[in-house]
Each structure stands twice: as structure tokens, then as C-alpha cells.
Subunit: 458 residues, 4 copies
């Protein structure tokens, strides 16, 4: 029995059928849909709308359908529009008219948001778990990189020497906030919508508290119109994932640049690289480029959802069918970029020797702040010290010489305060350990950070 | 022979394989890919790099592969990464080492942009054709609606009486500009990139003019770095489609509102409507809602592409793999919303009687401008006339009476200039025909517009 | 003393000066900047880097500058680039070289994120407060609208009768979640970044705990690289505001449609309407249209920020200057649309009489679910009942008659189960009270909802 | 006389006034607005609606107002809502009631689109001119860089040697397409909307052809509803600018990376750099970072406009007020990033010596394709040659030796075909000149490209 036949005289037009059917997309929710229907059948029984036999028939039929779908033997039909009607149709084939009672007082408007919430309860847990695994993978690499000194960069120009671990820990903290957001989000997600009907609430007095418990939720949605109209519980998940992906895109950018021949800090593992079909020498960081690229896709999904909802009148409108592909794609993409980034850090080669050699060949400019601070310690106002050292640097660059190779009398030309002690400043460890505040790059502070993260992300 | 094995020591990691393989998406380009390879084989022969026998073997093998894919018997393998390498691998299975010559001096970087350009040459034609069909469908309905008077709306409030055809023609003009854009775009698309190599240009002196002719292009791309780096030929198509979809979303909004019970102007054909699973009376305009919804999806695609490209260094980066899903989805969505909108206008019921009755029941407020113009003709400055009539309207609204039911002495209270001739103003046809300028709603102007569009969109 | 003069030989180019200077935008942060500098001066004193006299001079100078800016007598100079350097320059004019000590060990990289966090602590409170005021305004109107029966709409088609308060409460719940998000966000915002230096942490051992207390924060940021690099604390605020604005855009859409002449449910207050420059009768709901329109702007801001950050290498890059305009504009827009929406509900006229008359004139189709439920109570499987009633509706629509006007023998033609009791179903109150579950539209449930919201949003 | 007073009883509410007034933004269009009004006054005179004296009074008054605004002595008032009403109010102050005739039969709906089109005719010309200047600046640098050999990069990994000019020319071609799009766009922009009235067309038979000529347009808009409803002429401009900015963001990314110490190809001119407030050595490429950052802002503007229009019902809605800020900001941003990029190329230091030294120190991997081609010339199928060379490269990388330093007998271990001639392959010029096809990097092809661009962009 097609839903259409009672009210509408004509079958659906050819050109519209494809767009109208969502089952190709929403069939992914089959487990959630069946789980919701099983609970609903039990609630109908509890209410006396169906008998014990009917309940058993329905539940057994639904589980068989779940198995058929899992095994791939279920025939999805476009003319049944969506996962809900496909299941109902098949249930009727299996158990006859009892199937037609399952929808009593229930609307697809509430069914779809139930399915989506159940899906998100599971998937947001998976994303959280994957974030934690990624953080741990970075943390392990950080622990091994404490004594590796690299230049930090601002504006992609060498700034000050830092422990490589310090950079890696920055990544951990950024990802950790994604985890915090998921945790907060969970409260808003964990609200059970069934019993909202099409819009006005169940007309058969279904026991919503029973459904809540049966389906493993903590709270009920509080307003039936709100329950079927809002998609903010999808938006919030997609936003959180987008932020995570944008963070990963920044990390990927760092790793791509730092693993170039010209920088030479890292080697990307072979198993996460590819080569060129034409140029035999190429070893390309495709894994990182795809992480960066996926962030664009997820951003597109967020915008698609926001634009979808903008100006949409209450309550349910069919536009909302379009919420699922951006949602699924965001979840899949986020899980996979996290997994690939986890793998990148697992296999990342830190080229300690290469980094050291490059530092030695460098022209020491990133000690300039240390020199300015040295002048400040000798009572020069900072802004003046900043300027003096700037002039020294300009001179050294023009000469093409390293700061440590500028002779003392040359230094004195810029400022008579300089004395031979300044040459002791050209020492990475000394420079690093001067940044000894909470969150600073001094080695003991790095150890503190690692210990704290290891215990919070255990 | 895997591409990887020479340069890289380890097989690809499990977690990365799925992301690295694009064949699930780019296999859609198999016809274009094979067409490009056939032309390339011919050019290799022409250059003496392969012999006549090899050319024939290759071309025959490629056509067989095309048939296998069409029939669904081709086995796509993720480990071959993409459509290009899947075809090469299969060709080698079929014809042996000659297959390994096909890639001589050719890079996937140029191959993919060739495939995409060939695809877009075909698909942009299809979109253009579908726009024209949609315009014609609207035009037909416009021709039948010339004498149907409706209120035009600004701010969703009744403004002035117009011919319904006038509104429909506005839709045609908006869609027509989409067609104009596709036409302009075509020039930039129609440039043949093959022979660009990975980035530096072909190193084997392949005959690009020959390839151009063979593949049906009008021009060559002019710089090999530009050819493999740019995706603006995809962006421009997606932008044009986005604009078309946004226009369709506005039309859909009009039709959804105007076909509500409360407005009652239109009936949406049953074959483009659906019903509710719970509420038996519902006849919902899902086709129009989905048209509106799809505009969000396409907007998301445009943003995904822009964000993808933002800040990407030259030349080819693997991020660019992510260009295809937004492209394909945009093309598919645009073609389908155009087809559905064409169908909506084909079947749209204009409820002439209902519209007429509602106009008669209205309180005539939309004649207010005619009254103000009448005062202006009697030498009152327009701004003063506007104010006087505004006061009359405020009075009529408070009284809950129609403007034609306000007595002359009441009118005179607001302005002594009024006389009994004003009652002749409450005439739709008269009002409409006063707007007698090019592009205005006077009936003869509507006829002009229809005739012009019928001849330009024939 | 210009920052540039030490290190760079040439003055800034004409064409770049405008883009390089951000003071036109970031001067809005002057209070936060000065507050941060006062705390920093105290910390420098505590550390012994400046003396008591110098501290007093600096603090006094800073407060004078704050006053100058407030009074509008401060001269902002583009060549001083930003608010930080404008303040430093002016401080030097006022107190001489002590001013040049204020920046000791401090970087603009940390200064700007401190200023932004202080700004957001204040502004996120304002937004929260405005959300609460808006909820209260809607709640008041809801309390007065409990007994007003309107059709609920799905797909902009009449669905089932509901209490108007039910719809208004749906709005409240949606806004309430925005408030919840701000609350959760606050924890992540409330972290003090000063002492992070340019990137590696303070090199002068500044007392970060002292600064935290002085500036009213609860926690420290934990990693100096993360502290100067991340902008997720801005993104999260903008996302939360975007969601609120999208929700408001949906409410605005409802109110625009429902206040049209054709629907006639509401009158928009004159003080929130405008008229036309040409058509004297127009009373346009511009306030609501602008609320809807602003949601687009805020969405654009969110995208600008996401795209800005995508692929940006760590740590600070100058691109980040572009974070401020989208942030300020989002805060301003959100505050103003909330205020206008609050005003709309304050003045909204609910046209009780008009609504009642329209319901009486309607053709009762929205009782169809009640009829189907009636059949179900008589043991018909719901899907069959749904179909039967669908056929009745199709018949009624074709006949142009209301469901209550269909005679019993006509009903029986579709299903012999019908009897005269069905005519009792055409009763709004009865229908509404059947939806008696938590969150349903039954009047007592509405009372429950209102009471709960009144107490939580008090 | 306030527009509101006739129709509306209450003054505008405090909280809404700010949002309702757009004059703070649209006053930028004062020249266009006055130009439109002057033409309209002439057309009114031609139509006999005003006399010669009145026309002269009005035109003179309008020119005086233009001067007042230019001089800054004009008082804009929020309560007059927009530029149109501010001008009308002031005109009335100056010339009395004749001013109130200027709006006869004219609506702000058509006035604003006229103003916007006039503005865009001017600004799109400016953008085109600035694109040409930028192309020329790059071209000049390209001409001087023909003989500079750099590695080309794919995936930010060295690919093949190319002429630096080749990369610069790729930039030119990409920008040139922006210019082509503006040219095509111009046709759609150059259509005169005045005479469309509020929506239905002029009711006073204004002479639209006369207005067209007077205002310097080539065509009329063809449908009054379309004319006041569409904003695609703004969208298209913003899209074109967005694409240009995205292209510039990619160029900026290249230049930022290539001018890092680690790459060392370029020096950014001092006048386009800034330094750090803390680190005296820093010379940061802020100009390029801001170019990259602005692309995000412009992308946000495009999305704001698309989201604004999505689902908006015909015809004019007040949401459309929000079109102006994204438009103005896009135009300003695009002009300024083009100007800054022009300046960057003007002052860009190409570090020829440094580049040469780095190439000499490199390990020659980017000759791998040349070696593979050499094997192909000796009849090895390309895919096999690709693999052999891949193995050689893997070996060389493991050994840490350059390809030219691998002995012949080592080479022969991988493939016996190798002979001593392969050492002649390690020659940049030879490698470059092998890419001798149209668009390839061979020096003579570069000369061709430059000559062609010099003549087309002259």
C-alpha cells in the first residue's frame, strides 16, 4: 500500500522520483530506525494498542529485517521513499496487517530525528575516541622530542628556539578543546524526541518516559514543535567537527612545509606517502594534503546546513531531507582525517641530526630577542633595546654574517653597552630555559605539560 | 606493477588507503579518460614513440575497457588509486607491455584536468539545454496567464495589481542570464590542457595541436603550470549553477507560499506532491521544498571549492582530488532541480476563479498608488499625495473597510481635491495598463516580452 | 620611535599602509588593551623590572589615555599600525621613556588575544542577557496566547490544531539552547593568555597567576604556542551567534508569513514597520526582514573566519588580523536582532478574532488525523485508516466541501465503520487536548512548559 | 515630512532605528543617486510633469547637495533612512515643494538598483584596470627572470626544473581570466532599470530610452519585477572578485614560502614588510599574509550574499538592504589586494645567486624524469623506466648522495641499459629546453608567452 494512494490521484512523476526518494542516503540509519521501532512497538503494547502477539510478531520481523539489510539481501525501493517506509513495507510482507499498526500515532517527522539522534550518540562517541587516540599519538611523539630544538615560526619566519615537543603539545591542546565541545554537546543531544507526533505531540498518550529509558536517553525533548523542527543538534556536531578539521588542516600545513627538502625537519612515513605517475623521484605527502583538503569539504557541509535552515518556516519542511548527506559526510571525513593524522604522528620521522645541522648553519637571528633582553637587564628600556638590536640584525643581514660572527667592536658601534658576555647568549638550551613560566617552552615546563596531558587524556 | 613500488619501501597504510583512493568518485570520468587516452595513443604514434601495431592494440584495448565499465563487469581496485591507473592496469592485463608505453611523457596532473574539461563541455551543454526547457515551460504557462490579475508583492505584502504572466516572465529573465553565463564560460572551458606534462610541459614534443583537434577543443591552454594548477574552470561552472539554484529557490518560495490554502493562487500537481505518513489530509509541495533545499547543498559545494583552493601553493597539490565530488554533485543537483521546476510549471494549476474571488474580497489597498497618481495629475506634489493617501489608508484599515467603500465626503476630509472620479480607479485592468513602459505590466508590454523570449529561447 | 626603523630600511609603501594598519578596527578594544597594560605594568613592578614610580606613571598615563579615547580627543595614527602601538606612542608622549619599558617581554601576539578574550567575556554575557530578555518577551506573549487555536503547519500546509503558545514556546526552547552553548563556551574562553610572549612564553618570568587574578580570569592558557595561534575562542562565539541568528531567521519567516493579509494571524507593531516611498498603503515588516537578512551576514562572518584559518601554518600569521571585523560585526548584529525580536514580541498583536473566523471558514482538513485515530480506536490498522481518510479528503477537496459537511452516508461509502460520532471530532479543544504527553499541545501541557521556562529563565 | 507619518501611527522604535537606517552604508552611493535623480528630473520635464523652472531648480539643488556631501558639510540623518530620502529631504529644505515632485512615479526599489549598477559600472572598470596593472608588474618581473632556473613544485616537493618566468606567467594567465570574466559580466550589468517603478513598471510613462541614454547605459532591463528583485548583477561581481582573490591567495602562499630563509628564492621589499614588537630580528611578509587573509573575507561576502538571497520570495524584500556592505567591502578589498600584489612584484628581489647555489647543493632528484625519458628513448616502456629510476632514487636517498654522484656500475645494478651518457642529463638548461611544446617551459616558449601577454595586456 503506497502512502500516496489515498490522498493523491496521480503517481509520482518520473523526473521527481529520484529527488523525492531519500532511501539511498537514509538507509544508513537502518539500525537506529529499527531500534526506534522496536521500542515503539513495546510502547504500543504497553498502551494496549497492540497485543502481546502482535508485539512479538513486529519485533521479530524487525530484527529479521535488520539482518536482511546487514547481509545485503534487503531490497530497497525508491518508491517507498525512505528507510521508514521501506521497513514498514517489508514488515507488512513478512507479518501482514500487524505491520500497519506500527505507525499508529507516529510520524516520520519524529522518527527521523530519533534516528539521527541515536546515530549521533554513537558517532559523537567515536569521534571523541578518535580525538583521544590522535592526541595520544602526538603526545608519544612529543615525549620523544623534548630535547629537539627547532626554530618556532611566526609569519613563517624563524622566531625563537623552542622544544619541538612544545609545538606538538600546542596541537594536543587544540584538539582537546574539540573533545571538550563534544562533551558539552552531548547534553543537548541526549534528549528523546519520540512522542512528538507530526508536530502537536502524540495523540495516543504514548509513554515517553518508557521510550526514553528503552532507548537509552537521559532526558525528553520538551516541546513537540521544537522537536520536529530543529536541526541544531546536527549543526552543533558539524560545527565541532569543522573546527577539529580546520585545526588538523593547520597541523597538516605545518607538517607539509616542515617535511619539505628545504626545511628538512620531518620525514613522512612511506606508507602515508605516494609517488608520481610521471616523476619517479617524487615522494609526496598526500595524506597530509588530503587532511588539509578535507577541511574544505567539511566547511562546505556546515554552510550547506546553515543555508538550508536559514529562513525556513516552522515546523517540518521537506528541505530538511537535505540534512543527512552533509552530516554523514562530516562524520566520515572527520573520523578518517583523525585516523590518518594519528598514523602520521605514529610514523613521523623526526630528523634530529638534520635539524641540528641546519641550526648550526643558520645565522642565529632568532637569538635577537635574547640580546634585547640582555640590554634590558642592563637597564635599557625595552623599546630602545629592540631598536638597537634591530639595527645590528639589519647590519648582519646585509653583511651575510651570523650574529655570533659579528665582532664585539662592531656590536659596540650600535650600542656601547655590549660586552663579551653577549656571546654566551647563542646557546639554544639557555634561550629555551629562559621561557620558564607556565605554558612556556623551558624544558621543565614541557615536562609538566606532557604529564598533565598524559593524565587527562589517559 | 604498482606505481609505488619503485620509490617507496612500504605499502600504503590501511587507515590511509580509503582516503587516498579516489576511484570510487572519479570512475565517473571513465569515458572522458578513455577518450583522452585514445587521442594520446594516436599522438604517440604520430611522434613515432609507439608503432602502428601498438597504437591499434592500445586503442582496441581501451574501447574494450570502456565497454566493460559500461556493462559493469570492470573490476575497480582501490589500490590502483584512481580511474587513470585502473585503466592502465587493466590495459596491461589485456595487451601486455604496450600498455606501459601509454603514459610516456604524460602525467595524471594533466590527465585529470583534461577529463574534467571534457566532462564539463558535455555537462555544461546539458545544463544549458535544461535551462532552456525550463524557460519554455514557464513561458507557456505565462502565455496562458496574461489575463490573470494577481497582486504583486513587496515585503510579502500586496503592492500593485499585475498580470501573473509578468511574474512568470521575471523568472524567465533571471534564468536566461544563467544561460548567458554558461555561454561566456564556455570560451574559458574550451581550452585543451594535454601536453602540459606534470608541470613543465611535455618532454617528448607531443603535438598539442593534433590533440586539440582530435579531442574537439578550440584552443590550447597557454601555460603548463597554469594548466595543471588552476581549477577556476570548475569554480566558474559551480558558481553559475549556484546562482541558477538560488534563483530557483526564490521561485520555489513564491510557489510554496502562493499555493498555500491561505493564498490559494496555485495548485501543485499531484505527481509532484507527497502526503504525510501520519496526517491523511496532507498534500505537500515537497518538490518545491527540495528545489529550495538543494540550493543550500550547491552553495555548500561552492564554498567547499573556494576553501579548498584558498592559500593552496602552486602547482598541483593532492588537495585538488577533493574537487570532483562538489563538481559532480552540483551538476547532478542543478540538472535535477531544473527538471523538477520544468515539471512544476508544466503541471501547475492556476486557480483563476479563486484568485478572482479573493481579489473581490480584498480591501483594494493596492490601488493606493493609483489614487496618489490621480492627485499628482491634479498638480499635487507626489510626496504630499503619498501622505494624504497614506492617511486615507490608515483610516480605512482602522475602520476595516475597503477603499472603494469609503464615501466621497470621507475622502474629502483628507483632501478636498478628491471627487467622484476616483471610484473609477478601482479597476484592475485600468491599473495594470497604466504601467505602459518597456518592461512594465501593461498587457501589451507583456505580449511584447513573451514574443521576444519565445524567439530568443526557441 | 617607529617599530620599523631598527630592522627595516624603508618606510612602508603608500599602497600597503591602509591594509597594514588595523587601528581603524581594533581601536574598539581600547578599554581591554589598557586594562591588560595596567595589569602588565603591575606585574613588571612585582618582578622588579620597573620601579614603583614608573608603575604609577604608567598606570596614570594609561588611564588618561583611556579617558582621551572615550572623550574622542585621542589622535589615532595609521602609521602606529594598531591599538597597542598607538597607546604606547601616546604613553611615551605623556611620560617619556618609562613608556618604552611597558612592552618588556611582551608581544602583540599575546596582547591581542588577551584583548579579544576580555572583550568576549563582556560581550558573551551581553548576548546571553539579551537572549534571556527575548525569551521572556516571547514567554509573556505565550502566556496570553494559550487559548488561541491556530493550525500548525508542516510544509507550510495546515497540519493539526495547536495552541499558539505551543509555537511560541518552541521558539523559547530553541533560543534557550543558544544560552546553554554560551554557558559551556564560557569555560573555554575564561583562560588567561598573557605571559605567552611572542610564541615561546615569557622570557622574564612574569607572574602569570598574578595576571590571571588581576584580570579576572579563572584559568591560565596551558601552552604559549597554542595561546597565540588559536582563534577557536572566536570561532566558537561566532558559531553560537550564527545558530541563534539562523533560529531567529526562521522565527522571522513565520511571523512575516503569518502577518500577511492572506494569513492574518498577527499585526506587526507600527513602530517596527515602515512604509513605501511610492505606494502609500504599504505597511512592511522590515524589522523581521532585516532579522532574516542579518542571519546571512553572520553566516558570512563564520565562513570568513573558517576560511581564514584553513591551512594557516602555526603559529601567529598576520592573516589573523582579519579576525576582528567578523567578530565585532557578529556580536553587534546578534545583539541588535535579538533586541528587535524582543521588541516584535513585546508589541505583536495577536488577531484573536480574525484567527477564529478563519478557522471557522476553513474546510476542517486538519481534523483528518483525528478521524484516522478514531478508526484506529475501532481496531483498524493505522495505515489502512490513513488511507481511508485520505480518500475522504480527496473527495472533499474535489467537492470543495468541508469535512464536517460531508454526510454520513458519503463517509460510509469510504468505510462502513464511520458513524455519527465522528462529527464530534470537529472540535479544536478536543483535538488539542488529545495531544496529552510531555511536550504535547494539550493545554495543561502548555501550562507546564510555560511554568518550567518561567522558572528557568527568570 | 517623514515618509512614515501618513500610513503609520507610531514613530519608529528606538531599538529598531539603527537597523532600519541604511544611510551610514548607502551614502557611499551619493554620486550615483544624484546622477540618477538629475536624469529623472529631466525625464519628468520631458513628460511634462514638471516645468522647465522646476527642472532647473531641482538639478541645481541636486548638484549643490552633491557638493555639500563631497565637502563633508551635509548632515545625514538616520531618521531619513537612506541616501534617497536624505537627498529628498535636503532638496526640500533648499527648493521647497518642487522637491516633492521628484519622486513622482519613482520607487526606491528601482532607485537603489540604478545606483548599484552605476557604481558597479565604475568599480568593475577600476578592478579591471588594476588587474591589468598587476599582470604588467608580474610580466616585467617575468621578463627579467627567464634565465633563472628554479625547481617547480608539486605537493610542495621539487618536481622538475623550470624557468622562474614560467611560474610568473602562470599567475598572469590566471589573473587574465578574471579580466575576461569582468568583460563578459559587463554586458549583463549594462542594463538600465529606471522606469521599473516599485515593481509593476512606471505608471507615468516615463521615457526609459531617454533615461538610458542620459545615464550612459547600452540596454534596458526587460521586466520590471526582475529589475527590482534580482541581485545577480551584484553576486556576479562578487564572485569574480572572489575568484581573483583566491588566485592571489595562492600566489601569496607561494611567495611567503619561497621567501622563507629555508627556501631563500625571494626577498620581500622592506616597504611591504613589517617587524615584530618583541623580536627585533623579524622581517615579516605581512603584505602577502594580508592578501591571503583578505581572500577569506571576500569568500565570506559571497556566502553572505548567496545566503541572503536563498529562499527569498519575489519581489523586493527588505533583506536586500544587506547587499551593500558585502559589495562595497569586496570591491575595496579586491582593489587593495591587487594594488599590494602589484607592488610586491614591483619590488620583489629575485635572489639569483642564492637560487643557483641551492640548486648546486641539491641532490639532483628532479632530473629523475629526464633519466626515465632517456630509458624510454632506448625502447623501455615508460612505466618500467619509471620503476627503475624510482629504485635508483630510493637508493640515492638512503645513501644521502646526489644522483650525479652515483657511479655508473651502481646505476647498472638497477638497469644494464644505463651508460655514461646519462651524466649529461644533469644540466638544467638541457632539461628545461626539452619541454618544448606550446605552453612548455623551454626558453623559447617562455619568450613566446611573454610576447603574447605583452601584446594582449598592453
Amino acid at each position: 500500500m503506497s502512502l500516496r494512494d489515498g490522498r493523491l490521484q496521480k503517481p509520482i512523476s518520473e523526473g521527481f522520483r529520484g529527488m523525492n526518494s531519500s532511501v539511498g542516503v537514509d538507509k544508513r540509519l537502518f539500525r537506529e530506525d529499527i531500534r526506534g521501532s522496536v521500542a515503539y512497538a513495546r510502547a504500543l503494547r504497553k498502551k494496549g494498542i497492540i497485543g502481546k502477539d502482535e508485539e512479538e510478531l513486529i519485533v521479530k520481523g524487525l530484527f529479521e529485517i535488520e539482518e536482511e539489510i546487514e547481509k545485503g539481501s534487503f531490497l530497497f525501493r525508491d518508491e517507498d521513499e525512505d528507510i521508514h517506509m521501506n521497513v514498514e513495507r517489508r514488515l507488512h510482507e513478512k507479518i501482514g496487517d500487524a505491520a500497519y499498526k506500527l505507525h499508529t500515532g507516529r510520524s516520520r517527522n519524529e522518527q527521523i530525528v530519533l534516528d539521527e539522534r541515536l546515530y549521533l550518540m554513537r558517532v559523537s562517541d567515536e569521534v571523541e575516541k578518535k580525538i583521544v587516540e590522535t592526541i595520544r599519538s602526538i603526545l608519544k611523539k612529543a615525549r620523544k622530542s623534548i630535547d629537539v630544538v627547532i626554530p618556532s615560526y611566526t609569519h613563517l619566519r624563524q622566531a625563537q628556539p623552542v622544544s619541538l615537543a612544545h609545538l606538538f603539545l600546542a596541537y594536543c591542546h587544540a584538539l582537546k578543546r574539540g573533545r571538550e565541545r563534544l562533551f558539552d554537546y552531548r547534553k543537548r543531544l541526549d534528549r528523546m524526541p519520540l512522542g512528538s507526533g507530526a508536530v502537536a505531540g502524540s495523540s495516543i498518550g504514548i509513554d515517553r518516559e518508557f521510550l526514553k529509558t528503552e532507548l537509552g536517553f537521559s532526558e525528553l525533548t520538551k516541546n513537540s514543535i521544537d522537536a520536529v523542527s530543529t536541526r541544531d543538534f546536527i549543526l552543533e556536531f558539524v560545527w565541532i567537527c569543522t573546527e577539529v578539521c580546520i585545526t588538523l588542516s593547520r597541523m597538516a600545513e605545518d607538517l607539509i612545509i616542515f617535511s619539505s627538502d628545504e626545511f628538512g625537519f620531518f620525514g613522512i612515513p612511506d606508507e602515508l606517502s605516494t609517488t608520481s605517475s610521471l616523476m619517479p623521484q617524487k615522494k609526496n605527502p598526500d595524506s597530509l594534503e588530503l587532511i588539509r583538503g578535507k577541511s574544505a569539504r567539511v566547511t562546505g557541509n556546515l554552510i550547506a546546513l546553515l543555508t538550508l535552515l536559514k529562513g525556513l518556516p516552522y515546523t517540518y519542511d521537506r528541505d530538511l531531507q537535505e540534512d543527512k548527506e552533509p552530516l554523514f559526510d562530516t562524520a566520515d571525513s572527520t573520523l578518517s582525517v583523525l585516523e590518518v593524522m594519528r598514523g602520521v604522528f605514529h610514523g613521523l620521522e623526526v630528523k634530529k641530526e638534520g635539524i641540528k645541522k641546519r641550526l648550526e648553519r643558520s645565522n642565529d637571528l632568532f637569538f635577537a630577542t635574547d640580546i634585547a633582553d640582555w640590554l634590558v637587564e642592563r637597564d635599557m628600556p625595552f623599546r630602545e633595546a629592540h631598536r638597537k638590536v634591530g639595527e645590528v640584525v639589519q647590519y648582519a643581514v646585509k653583511e651575510g654574517r651570523a650574529l655570533r660572527d659579528i665582532a664585539l667592536d662592531e656590536y659596540k658601534r650600535f650600542c656601547p653597552t655590549f660586552d663579551k658576555n653577549i656571546y654566551a647568549l647563542f646557546d639554544y638550551e639557555r634561550s629555551i630555559n629562559r621561557h620558564d613560566v607556565p605554558g612556556g617552552t623551558a624544558f621543565r615546563r614541557i615536562e609538566e605539560q606532557i604529564a598533565a596531558l598524559e593524565s587527562s587524556e589517559a
